[in-house]
């Protein structure tokens, strides 16, 4: 069992996002550009949910941290004239991470349920905070007229370069996600499998949860920056509490067992909702239905189910080498059997 195949889904996820850099050079249809841009934002945000789900924690705080990252970048651009995209991306990661650190230390010692509910409240509260601080955030008007960002001094103003930046942010987010979930693979698996047992074996569970939470907040912030940069405005409606459910849906429906899951889920669902945008109001119900199907019938989501089918197919074909599971944690593999 080589180390490389252990990380095949991480590598595949990064490779897919890397390949999508080519798309802006193949087509120039505005529909493809805007859809692809939305997908890049959604994938970045879905990684945030993915990291939390690694530890069996559900988070509704993605829009809250997206707002912190997005507003931090917008304020830096508008009030301080900082437009370097590397700096802004880093800022949009660090700002929410700094906010998340004390919150995580405080909340992650509590039972998982408390944490979930507080993340839900957090998103509602952040929305109120934006309305209450019009001097800093522009209140209900938002911050309009973000200056175009630059990379190595070159201005990224047209649609194509904005899209390229969004893919770049998603690419960076994928690498961070792969590094963190790979480096802490065993710790996360232990927490997911049996938290009490992990703790009794000497794992300081809450410390790893805090690390995961801080990174997840940073990833959400990057998605926020990407979204703000695409719309050229930081507006409270971009970070509505209702949208938190979408990011959860992308990750769960795509498959929470591997890093490919959020990529596949976000791509498929965002693509579908842009095609059926005339019936946009039904997309939430569809997400709800799909989430229920995943919970009751297809635990691994799209990626996990396809992987399980593939494994069964190759086994039936008589290949003796039954490889270790590529995707999915121990728990899920056990469930499939």
């Amino acid at each position: 069992m080589s180390r490389l195949s252990q990380f095949s889904s991480e590598i595949a996820a990064i490779a897919i996002i890397g390949l999508s850099f080519l798309i802006p050079f193949i087509t120039d249809s505005p529909f493809a550009y805007s859809t692809h841009n939305l997908i890049a934002v959604a994938v970045t945000a879905a990684f945030s949910v993915y990291i939390m789900l690694r530890m069996d924690l559900m988070t509704f705080a993605v829009p809250a941290f997206m707002a912190v990252g997005g507003y931090a970048a917008a304020i830096a651009g508008l009030k301080f004239g900082i437009v370097d995209s590397f700096f802004l991306t880093a800022l949009s990661f660090v700002a929410p991470a700094v906010v998340a650190l004390p919150l995580g230390i405080l909340l992650l010692r509590l039972r998982g349920i408390y944490f979930v509910l507080v993340t839900f409240l957090l998103t509602q509260i952040l929305q109120l905070l934006i309305f209450e601080t019009p001097d800093l955030t522009g209140g209900t008007n938002g911050l309009v007229g973000m200056p175009a960002t630059t990379i190595f001094g070159m201005e990224l103003a047209d649609n194509k370069s904005v899209l390229l930046l969004a893919i770049g942010v998603a690419f960076a987010a994928a690498i961070i996600t792969a590094l963190v979930s790979g480096y802490l693979r065993r710790e996360f698996a232990a927490i997911e499998e049996n938290e009490v047992l992990a703790q009794s074996l000497g794992l300081v569970v809450w410390r790893y949860k805090v690390i995961g939470f801080v990174v997840a907040a940073g990833l959400a912030g990057m998605a926020g920056f990407s979204l703000v940069n695409m719309l050229l405005t930081a507006h409270p409606t971009s970070f509505s509490p209702q949208s938190s459910v979408n990011y959860i849906a992308y990750t769960i429906i795509g498959g929470r067992g591997s890093m490919l899951g959020p990529v596949v889920g976000a791509t498929l669902l965002v693509w579908m909702s842009s095609i059926f945008s005339t019936h946009g109001e039904f997309s939430e119900g569809l997400y709800g239905l799909l989430i229920m199907v995943v919970v009751l019938a297809a635990r691994g989501g799209i990626v996990g189910t396809v992987a399980a089918l593939w494994r069964r197919l190759t086994r039936n074909l008589g290949s003796e080498t039954s490889a270790a599971p590529i995707v999915g944690t121990v728990k899920e593999v056990a469930h499939e059997r």
């Binding site: 789900l53 069996d56 559900m58 405080l106 909340l107 010692r109 509590l110 039972r111 998982g112 349920i113 408390y114 979930v116 509910l117 507080v118 839900f120 409240l121 509602q124 509260i125 109120l128 905070l129 309305f131 209450e132 938290e195 009490v196 703790q199 509490p241 209702q242 459910v245 959860i248 769960i252 109001e281 039904f282 939430e284 119900g285 569809l286 997400y287 709800g288 239905l289 799909l290 989430i291 229920m292 995943v294 919970v295 009751l296």
Partner: protein, 288 residues
Amino acid sequence: MASFVSAGLIGISLGAQYALLALGFTLIFGILGVVNFAHGGFYVLGGYVAYSCVAMLGLPYPVAVLAAMLATAALGYVFELFLVERVVDDHLATLMLTLGLYLMIGTCIQAVYGPESPQFSFPITGTLRFAGFYMPLENLVVLAVCLVAIGGVYFLMYRTDLGRGLRALADNREVAATQGLRPKLLFPLAFALSCGLAGLTGALVTPILSLGPLVGEPVLATAFLTVILGGFGSIIGATVAAFLVGLIEAYSVVYLGGSKGALALFVLVLIVLIVRPSGLFGKEARGA
């Protein structure tokens, strides 16, 4: 002084509504260990069922309220029996299931009734006025019904065999099961009771506040706040915390204005979580 008392009365009437919602929410958590994200959905559904009964079938409002309660309870019963029951011990799975149901309820309502708020107003209007205090009459009626319902829940939980059985299951499922209590029979009932309470509140309150496909979200947030404050699974805690939340909200609207009250509440919840993580009346909050 008069405004102080009026705000207090409004706070108590808000508190009674929140108590009904939080009681249902905390019952499900205490007994089944399930966080019901669809609770706000059942509230909205209750409002729409009552609206349909009044506007389309021409039924009198009290009958409509009763119908809303029964309809939401029935949906809750079926949902628990056929879906939640399969994964009842997996916290995350039940959370996702109820979240999925919440999304579907919202979409179905939007598909049937459209995204606009329907015209649904309380049948009794007017203001009660004495010694310089004002109290809208409909708030008084809602307060009275809520208090009766809260009393009913307490009677059910503490004075009947069903309630004793439910509390036993909440205390220790294994021991209760060995004593002959059947979770398979009681869980759907508990779920139905809780959803019925949410539906009842929705039918009562939405004509006064507002009815729309999205009004469930703030309701859910308030239920969370209340339950965290009072302590998870605690019936008394949920009731006390609900009145506290109602009063804080009413007074902050008068004296602070805007959404500062909601912010203050959140800070309060954070402080409670640091100082006393189990809430005001809860038992245990740390650990898995």
